[in-house]
């Protein structure tokens, strides 16, 4: 098993980092705006829920590959991701433009490099 099971601790830390981004940073929610930010090279990190349709997921990953932007597969579905963003609607994918006070981008790039 290469990918370790997502521990509860790291999951909580992503949630807390996301909450900090929601408070202090700039982000966009939703597929259309995610693609827009990727095209205009404004996105710094893209987060995709786990029940995102596979075609849409691979399309976002391809755009992110072209734009050299990290993609994080959130351990939860769009309902959970919406809750993690503090919203009362479902969020399938979101793009972080400016992390504000959070270190989500640095910690994401560290964990993917490991």
């Amino acid at each position: 098993m290469v990918a370790a099971k997502k521990t509860k601790k790291s999951h909580e830390s992503i949630n807390s980092r996301l909450a900090l981004v929601m408070k202090s940073g700039k982000y966009t929610l939703g597929y259309k705006t995610v693609l827009d930010t990727l095209r205009s090279s404004k996105a710094k990190l893209v987060i995709i829920a786990n029940n995102c349709p596979p075609l849409r997921k691979s399309e976002i990953e391809y755009y992110a590959m072209l734009a050299k932007v990290g993609v994080h597969h959130y351990n939860g579905n769009n309902v959970d991701l919406g809750t993690a963003c503090g919203k009362y609607f479902r969020v399938c994918c979101l793009s972080i433009i400016d992390a504000g006070d959070s270190d989500i981008i640095k910690s994401m790039s560290l964990s993917t490099n490991e």
Binding site: L35, R39, S40, S41, A43, K44, E59, Y63, M65, L66, A67, K68, V69
Partner: protein, 135 residues
């Protein structure tokens, strides 16, 4: 964080008459213009792909089969799928901003892109660009 909708990028058109066709970006207008207040780009693409040429074909037949029909269009970014491929054919002088002003300018631009694309196809490079996308 890298801009990838740049000139010479190969893209696939997603909407319109030319949906499913491969094209190359010639000029991109990221912030739009007065008439088109959205990100769009000028692309030149293949209207009719060249057919498969086999060894049995005579020279006359290969010449006929290697013909390419081209188009020039202004397309919204949303209606494009960018790819990781590039096509460095110099079309900047042929296809300009005002190629689409009048019908005969467009025809001359299309004719010239057709010639350039055909000679690129005959060299055998950029094989991916000249194969039809199956869907």
């Amino acid at each position: 964080m890298v801009k990838f909708l740049k000139p010479n990028k190969a893209v696939i058109l997603l909407q319109g008459r030319y949906a499913g066709r491969k094209a190359v970006i010639i000029k991109s207008f990221d912030d739009g213009t007065r008439e088109r207040p959205y990100g769009h780009c000028l692309v030149a693409g293949i209207k009719k792909y060249p057919s498969k040429v086999i060894r049995k074909d005579s020279t006359k037949k290969t010449a006929k089969k290697s013909r390419v029909k081209a188009f020039v269009k202004l397309v919204n970014y949303q209606h494009l799928m960018p790819t990781r491929y590039t096509l460095d054919v110099d079309l900047k002088d042929v296809v300009t901003g005002d190629s689409l002003q009048s019908k005969d300018k467009k025809v001359t631009a299309c004719k010239e892109t057709k010639n350039r694309l055909e000679e690129r196809f005959k060299t055998g490079k950029n094989r991916w660009f000249f194969t039809k996308l199956r869907f």
